[in-house]
Symmetry: C2
Subunit: 317 residues, 2 copies
């Protein structure tokens, strides 16, 4: 149990802490989060603990991965509750920056989620996508793109998402300078993208994927689950239930992805879900496959009410 | 004078050297080069020496910043000559990797500069640009984009160039982990892009811009100058001569950029140069200005024979 949990908000102070600790021979694990911590996050911390002496948990809701039309302003947060949870864990530092994109030269105040200013797009550069960072006119213009892996699945419906994730993780790696970083495999595409980015940009960070944590009813834990009504939650269980059935069918020899996807999409539609995608893809390349002949992952994104949920199951046949 | 110049080709060995030195309290300066060293590079090394205890010079011709139609295969090189020059300087390590984009999973051999395979574009992702890295099918797919600064001037005629530069510099920063990096202001746009990237991605590297070094006749030093015939070289002097005249005129009160640009373009055309661009831009934003009212830089790119040359002069009125 940690005796003194330190909260650091300043970038330079955070880096100094890490360098002081490294100079003392310590290794540092980073668990990046957007806060509103649940058992899933706790499992990431426990995973990190296996690999390093010290643990930094970052809590930062990253505007770079939200488009102006998405739920940045309503993303759940409870900083004091998060701290209470972390205090009883072996966490050494909470890195909680106010704004990672503020370089002391803000052109105007935040306007994200303001329908008048949203989507003006004047700052979008060549890529044609705009996040809440451009929308706030903070002057930030450098983005890390993982050009193939970012295209499919969540990248299709959320064009700024992975660019924002890869960029903020780069920033966090450069500020915290960890030896190990742990990401949840619930965000499977994100985890693969971060691993590819680390390889391609030669980061000295070992990236670990941590298994999905589910509630007793099987729903994959997510900070967004809190926004589901009891009825929506019951209907959302169709995701993990149908994925489990598909996985079992595949393990029993059903290798037609079309049939397996039919099984899942039918269950989701019957439960009133609005499907964003249901895809069976190669675990490494994330390219869609038609027949299961090597390790794949079945990934789903669907909305129940106003809440977009994602889940996945690896199928290793 | 350095007693033992160490040549390191392996990424992990390079990083280990840097970390060992940092643990001993040393600071490290990085001078990234593509080799074929001249007095301009030497001045970068001397600048780095003012700021750090130890100096790493990287020599790596980066395929990520060349398009398949550019001069990667004919870029001049003389590794032994470079080492001879560095041996008598206070340089501690030459980092000379064979291939920074080889992750042990090469799909096929290099085909860059092979007209049959060039420009197939199948690996280009969303950005619509292809470098010799995609062309070689090395599997690398992560790119750092500085979305506004990369658009103008050299970015217009060389669409993969700054993406490749920002990416390889990110890799070098992550491998060498320097405290200071020195870039030549001859590549003015590149220098501004690296500074912006360092700010936006929170790299713990202090970037220093080093002044242009010119030959006795005024030509800005460049590894490509060796490919100019004596006659072409004489004609290429029109670049620095006309830029000097424009600078003087501006300092004497001429603030119309149109007139100043006319002065330079006319001189270049008369000398038989083929102008890529001649632009007067804000020193920070690199946006074109019409009247000089704040610090600007006059940037020129022009071809003489087969050789594309760039040069610039800052005008601080």
């Amino acid at each position: 149990m940690a005796t003194g949990l330190e909260i650091i908000t300043d970038k330079d102070q955070m880096r100094k802490w890490s360098r002081d600790m490294r100079a003392k021979g310590k290794t540092i694990g980073l668990v990046p989060t957007m806060g509103y911590l649940h058992e899933g996050h706790i499992s990431l911390i426990k995973e990190a603990q296996k690999h390093t002496n010290l643990i930094v948990v970052s809590i930062y809701v990253n505007p770079g991965q939200f488009s102006p039309s998405e739920d940045l302003s309503t993303y759940p947060s409870d900083f004091q509750g998060d701290i209470d949870k972390l205090k009883v864990l072996p966490v050494d530092v909470v890195f909680h920056p106010y704004n990672l994109y503020d370089y002391g030269n803000i052109e105007s105040e935040s306007k994200c989620n303001d329908p008048i200013s949203s989507g003006s797009g004047s700052e979008s550069g060549r890529s044609g996508v705009v996040s809440c960072v451009e929308d706030r006119k903070l002057g930030h213009e450098t983005w890390v793109r993982v050009e193939r892996l970012e295209n499919g699945m969540c990248g299709k419906s959320r064009p700024v998402f992975f660019r924002g994730v890869a960029t903020v993780v780069t920033k966090l790696f450069n500020i915290v300078e960890p030896d190990v970083a742990v990401f949840g495999k619930k965000d499977y595409q994100q985890w693969r993208i971060i691993r590819r980015m680390v390889r391609d940009l030669d980061f000295a960070v070992h990236v670990i994927g941590s298994e999905i944590v589910r509630d007793a009813d099987g729903l994959a834990m997510s900070s967004r689950n809190v926004r589901l009504s009891p009825k929506e939650r019951e209907r959302a269980l169709s995701i993990n239930r149908s994925l489990s059935r598909a996985k079992l069918a595949a393990e029993n020899g059903q290798n037609s992805c079309r049939d397996l996807k039919d099984l899942v999409t039918q269950a989701l539609l019957e439960a009133g879900g609005i499907i964003d995608y249901a895809e069976i893809v190669d675990q490494e390349s994330l390219e869609a496959v038609e027949e299961i002949r090597s390790p794949v992952v079945f990934c789903v994104a669907a909305r129940f009410g106003a809440v977009r949920l994602i889940d996945n199951m690896e199928i290793n046949v």
